[in-house]
């Protein structure tokens, strides 16, 4: 599949997307509500055969974002699913590790560092913070000043 066909195939999930942003010829951002991210990611991984690269959690003040980055290696295109989590009090999203084993670690990490719940994650445990790191302290959330472990 070439890049033109790749972009055309996104029409199949257009109902799940808010918009598609194209920053360069090879970088696409598929913005969606967090509720639809599972279906969109499933389409990109299973139907389009893209490789899951990693995920980025962002504290954007009005909402949390979870960016799932995928690579379409045949065309060198990076497609990023930008899921918006509007419930800041209780941020949660359906885990894509259910169908991508390679996403297990990064979802555990985003849970550790940003405090986002990944519903139905096959193995949700602490990954990256120390055993004695206090519960409920999420270092990547935006604060007025940095906190250090004393």
């Amino acid at each position: 599949m070439d890049r033109v066909q790749l972009i055309e195939s996104l029409a199949k999930i257009k109902n799940e997307l808010i918009k598609v942003e194209k920053t360069t010829d090879s970088r696409l951002y598929l913005v969606c509500e967090s509720l639809n991210a599972y279906k969109v990611s499933n389409f990109i991984f299973k139907t389009l055969g893209c490789r899951f690269v990693t995920a980025t959690a962002i504290d954007s003040f009005h909402y949390y974002e979870v960016l799932y980055h995928f690579s379409h290696d045949q065309t060198g295109t990076v497609l990023t699913v930008k899921a918006l989590i509007r419930d800041r009090g209780n941020p949660s999203i359906e885990s894509i590790a259910q169908f991508i084993p390679g996403a297990q670690w990064i979802e555990r990490e985003m849970h550790d560092l940003m405090g986002i719940e990944f519903r139905n994650h096959p193995d949700m445990r602490r990954l990256i913070l120390a055993d004695d790191w206090p519960q409920g302290v999420y270092p990547l959330r935006k604060k007025t000043k940095d906190e250090k472990v004393s």
Partner: protein, 376 residues
């Protein structure tokens, strides 16, 4: 550095888990307090031996965000430094793999032959590792044209030695018996675990960022992606050995085609936006995502090292295997050296700790000895 825990039943591995966190320095948060031009020095130290690939992926993300195109000469210089790093990193791996299975002469030879590459990098960039050679907009330093004959001469010497070593590995029946069929990562598992680099290419997945989404000067050079299909430790060794020759070829071509001109453009400010940069490190794809709000520092900087996706594939490659093969199977994805030091093996039924790194290493080397004796 990680802490691996394996559960065994008799001699067969039934479960494997890892405790990370020992190496977690909180770099993504630190990056939010640094300025864009300070970050290459930070990310160079994510992993000491991918220290050219991480800053390159990062500056590419920022250059994409800001719509900056570095000058042509910079693209070639970046390629030269990155390929020299790949050469010494792969040679390091060959040495370590030899050590794990009891071929200590290979370890000593390999690490001796990587020294001249480190000397060259020190002469060009000022350091054996952590080169600090890239910045947003180009390179911080130029490669002097006068060094070209020295680099070519050294690489020719290394090529001769590596040909000898490669032939020794490919022809050795003991190595075939020891490493073939060991630690197999099947193609579908490789896809599900989203592995990259030689780990993927040894399982028949021909992905390589340098070909798939060319950056620096890779799209302008003549070279090939090396793949194997068996997915075992032997296949991974073959991929890395053959890649050394491709890298040597690329460095020579890059020097031959090196255009005149500046090695950087001046960058005044980074506008608001987001960018993704990736580079093919010796271990696989390094991926950086940067978001800016137009200020001096990133709002968010995501860094992903290749080992983050390659190491978890041990679930697929170690389970059902023999404990004598654990050290070499873990080492085959080429994690950071210190990672494989922390190992504990626990009995399935009693929960008692049976082995540590020292005794697992001993088991691995004893297995090689046994194979040698059987072949005599």
């Amino acid at each position: 550095m990680e802490f691996f825990q394996l559960t065994i039943d008799g001699e067969i591995v039934t479960d494997i888990d890892v405790r990370l966190s020992y190496n977690h320095r909180g770099m993504e948060k630190i990056a939010e307090s640094l300025q864009f031009d300070q970050i290459p020095f930070l990310v160079s130290r994510i992993c000491g031996i991918c220290s050219a690939s991480h800053p390159l992926a990062y500056v590419q993300a920022v250059e994409e965000l800001a719509g900056i195109t570095p000058p042509d000469r910079a693209l070639y210089v970046r390629t030269i430094i990155n390929e020299l790093e790949r050469i010494h990193s792969h040679i390091l791996w060959v040495g370590l793999a030899g050590h794990f299975i009891g071929y200590d002469t290979v370890f000593m030879w390999a690490w001796k032959y990587r020294e001249p590459v480190l000397d060259l990098l020190e002469e060009i960039t000022g350091n054996r590792n952590n080169y600090g050679n890239v910045k947003v907009g180009g390179c911080r330093e130029d490669v002097p044209d006068e060094i070209k004959p020295k680099v070519i001469a050294e690489l020719d010497k290394i090529a001769t030695k590596m040909e000898m070593l490669t032939k020794a590995v490919l022809d050795d029946p003991v190595l075939h018996a020891r490493l073939k069929g060991v630690g197999v990562l099947k193609k579908q598992d490789a896809i599900n675990y989203c592995v990259t680099g030689p780990t993927a290419r040894a399982s028949g997945i021909g992905i390589d960022v340098r070909k798939d989404d060319p950056y620096a000067a890779y799209g302008l050079l003549d070279w090939k992606v090396i793949t194997q299909t068996e997915g075992d430790v032997f296949a991974k060794a073959v991929v890395r050995l053959l890649e050394i020759f491709e890298s040597i070829k690329m460095v020579k071509q890059a020097f031959a085609k090196l255009p005149k001109g500046p090695v950087a453009i001046e960058v005044k400010e980074i506008p608001a936006g987001e960018g993704c940069g990736h580079a093919e490190a010796p271990r696989g794809e390094t991926f950086h995502y940067v978001r800016s709000d137009g200020g001096n520092r990133p709002v968010r900087h995501k860094m992903r090292a290749p080992s983050y996706v390659n190491v978890p594939s041990f679930k697929a490659s170690c389970l059902g295997g023999n404990i004598a093969d654990v050290t070499i199977t873990l080492a085959a994805v080429d994690p950071c050296y210190s990672c494989t030091e922390r190992l504990a093996v626990v009995n399935d039924r009693s929960g008692k700790i049976l082995h540590d790194y020292e005794s697992l290493l001993k088991l691995s080397r004893e297995k090689t000895e046994k194979i040698k004796k059987e072949m005599l």
